[in-house]
């Protein structure tokens, strides 16, 4: 399928989200759209997929001008979109999810699952996909869920696939499998648009690259005419900051000490876990999401009660304290989910910035809020962390993802606590924000704070950590010093028990 967007313009109130952008996607082509969060690439794709109506401009599919009234029109015309957050019914099987809303019906009005299986089996063979159609989605790993999303497209015979950040939650191995499928799709004449932040992946899979910044199209053309460096410069509109240098100083005293920690949730048990984080070091916990990291973090933050074990902060037991007491004892927490946990989106930037401040007297007079003081405090964070927002009294929901995350990071790091817990601190944010957040975490380390970094992003772990632990199925591997860290070994540890993984590598 050949698709073209011509002079598309989208505005939200005074904000121009997409400014006269024209892109064309050829048949059998993998087209990467890259840019910072808020650059307008998701908006542009939503226009193509019929989720947003443009203020100006036109959409052409195979040379014919089309006008979507809803995403249903686009789907009927052969477009498919895999969103960053999967849209699957957890309690249904893979097959049920795939046929949902496009159920084949036999002449008695029953769903013809047999026919669907047959149709899918052909696709499986052609593209080398393996998955158990009768598994319940809630039992699947993230990578497999992604495959289900892609199968939905395949089942409807979509000719143009749009994938929004498809590799954000995948292991290196899962990513390779996904790219294999996508290449096979492209060979069969389908067009693929992939929205991503990861330049390595762009270089690996794309045929053409379009770079967006600030709602404008900066460049578009074949991959072979550009370079990774050039794309990166185009994305951020300047030169890349220098790589982060590891600290050549021995870490100090133990700040966080975890001993024999066991956390039980409804159907999983995590632990026993034991590890230390010392002042002036970043300890990274790598792993595919869903292997117990969330339980560990919640137990440390005080959001989940523990079954057994000890947590000590600067030598004092904190495992029976509530969240506020733990924060006062000296820890900050950058949560992964900025939409629900990190921020209250319906409140203003100032209200968010002041939440969780230890010393209330800084922004109250008697029982009343001192709004000017709150705004000043927020303004300081906005300036210090270069957050792009209209004013401190704008709603937090009006910021782009990267700016939201900078606000969360700014609020937590401004507290200057001995321990910082960061959970996927750069998940789904743009390169500029990643650089700033990484630099701030390293600055905290260099200033003698202890940083616990839990991330599903292996590159992030490798780039920042002084020591690395890998979490798999509720337990931790032995520690790996940053100097000996090896992608393949860690990748293997992320997907299997330590002993088995080591054998595989050796």
């Amino acid at each position: 399928m050949h698709a073209a967007l011509k002079d598309i313009r989208v505005t939200f109130g005074p904000l121009i989200a997409v400014d006269s952008v024209s892109i064309s996607i050829g048949a059998g082509e993998v087209h990467a759209v890259v840019g910072e969060n808020g650059a307008g690439k998701s908006t542009l794709m939503n226009v193509l997929f019929g989720l947003i109506r443009p203020d100006a401009g036109s959409i052409e599919i195979d040379g014919k001008q089309r006008n979507w009234t809803s995403a249903q029109d686009a789907i009927r015309a052969g477009l498919g979109m895999v969103h960053q957050h999967f849209m699957l019914q957890e309690q249904m099987t893979v097959l049920e999810n795939i046929v949902l809303c496009g159920e084949p019906v036999n002449r008695f009005g029953f769903v013809d699952f047999k026919g669907a299986r047959k149709k899918l089996a052909e696709g499986f063979k052609e593209h080398g996909i393996t998955i158990d159609l009768d598994a319940t989605v809630s039992d699947l790993a993230v990578g497999q869920r992604q495959v289900v999303e892609i199968l939905k497209m395949l089942y409807r015979d979509a000719r143009l696939l749009i994938l929004d950040e498809p590799t954000a939650v995948l292991t290196p191995q899962e990513k390779d499998r996904l790219f294999g499928i996508l290449r096979s799709f492209a060979r069969s004449g389908r067009s693929i648009i992939i929205i991503t932040h990861k330049l390595d992946e762009v270089v690996e899979i794309a045929d053409r690259v379009s770079v967006m910044r600030g709602g404008k199209l900066i460049s578009t053309g074949p991959l072979k005419d550009t370079s990774k460096d050039r794309i990166a410069r185009e994305i951020i509109g300047g030169d890349l900051p220098p790589p982060i240098k590891p600290l050549a100083r021995a870490p100090g005293e133990t700040v966080l000490s975890v001993k024999g920690l066991v956390v039980k949730s409804r159907d999983t048990s995590v632990g026993p876990l034991s590890f230390d984080v010392r002042a002036g070091e970043i300890v990274g916990i790598a792993g595919v999401s869903g292997n117990g990291q969330a339980e560990l973090i919640q137990a440390l933050a005080g959001l989940r009660s523990i079954t057994s074990g000890e947590i000590a902060l600067s030598g004092n037991r904190i495992d029976r304290l509530d969240v506020a007491a733990r924060r006062r004892a000296g820890q900050s927490y950058i949560p992964e989910d900025r939409q629900r946990v990190g921020l209250a989106l319906g409140a203003t930037v100032a209200e968010n910035a002041n939440a969780g401040r230890d010393d209330v007297s800084g922004f109250v007079r008697g029982p009343f809020l001192n709004r000017p003081a709150m705004a000043r405090y927020a303004r300081a964070i906005i300036d210090r962390y270069r957050i792009k927002v209209g004013s401190a009294s704008a709603l937090a929901s009006t910021m782009s993802g990267g700016n939201k995350q900078k606000l969360v990071v700014g609020r937590e790091l401004t507290r200057e606590t001995p321990l910082v817990i960061a959970e996927n601190p750069t998940w789904g944010v743009d390169i500029g924000a990643i650089e700033l957040i990484h630099a701030e975490l390293v600055r905290m380390r260099d200033a003698g704070h202890a940083v616990l970094l839990v991330s599903t992003e292996l590159d992030e772990i490798l780039r920042l950590s002084d020591r690395i632990l890998v979490m798999y199925s509720g337990s931790l591997s032995d520690e790996i010093a940053a100097a000996d860290a090896d992608r393949n070994r860690i990748g293997a540890l992320m997907t299997s028990r330590a002993d088995a993984a080591l054998r595989n590598v050796a």
Partner: protein
Amino acid sequence: MTVRSESLFSGDLLPWIYTLAWILAILFGLMLLVNAPFGDALSGFMAGAFGGRRWAYLMATLSRATLIIGMALSVMISFRAGLFNIGGEGQLVAGGLVSALVAILLPGPPLLVLAVAILAGMAAGALWALLAGVLYIYVGVPLLVGSLLLNFPIRYIASYLVAHPFRDVQSGMVQSHLVPEGTWLAYFPGVRLDVGILFIVATSIFAIVYSHTTLHGYRARLNGLSADFARAVGLPVTRLTLQTLATSGAIAGLVGAIAVFGIHHRYIDGMLVQPLYAWTGIITVLLVGMIPWLVPFSGFFFAAIQTGAAGMERSAGVPKDIALVMQAVIILFVASRVSGAILSSQNKAKGGDDGA
């Protein structure tokens, strides 16, 4: 900082105009259906809501609005904190019952008795709300369920108490004895409207100031916007929940006491339940998207619909059920708007900058 456009009124006005057009069209259709004299019905409605000799009907509307707005403020305080306390009815009954019994049983100078009775009514409402809060926090009963179910026991306790131990047998009705005449709330000079409305004016001011300018109101609202966020930044969520529920219940209790001392001068079985004050209060708050300063206007609007409908029936012979059907239609529209707002707030793909 001033009041920000928060949810429902922040967007364009167009959907509201559509809604209003729909409501008028449905109203017109209903009138045609019952073959009503249109002009008479309208003038009967207006006179019934705002007219009367010496403004008697306007005073009736204000009196009803007092109770509805009071209940709406109680609901607003808890809803804004994300606490879906729909047990306003039980807290209202608890407040009315306890304040009436205290006034009947407690000897002493009338004004002192009145003050003690009102405080006791507020305490009773607060305790009844706290009961739902304790069940929620320590037993795990969802607040929506717990607060709703607690409406029933207190209703039956009240029925029993005024039907048996405290019944005014001579009157032949299921009601308590009159409270001492000295404790009755005075009327404003020249009209039949008691000073109870002043309590609600004060409560409205309190609720608006509380919601926008106090630390407690700010924290409660953060909890309402995202409970996970409030927990993660270490807000004292348990304390906040219990305090907010107690405040909400105390306001409901106050409304019960105002109904006793201002209107009925005794506790009559069903007097607080049958007019659906608590439920109208919930609609009142949802109609204006929980924006504090709009709540009194919205409450007055609903009170006027109800008293106006009665006037329409009296003077034009149009069944008042038509107005009640209209109220139900408005509720349906509000419900769709509210769920629409909730849905769109979950779709965080919202652009633009409507702050500043």
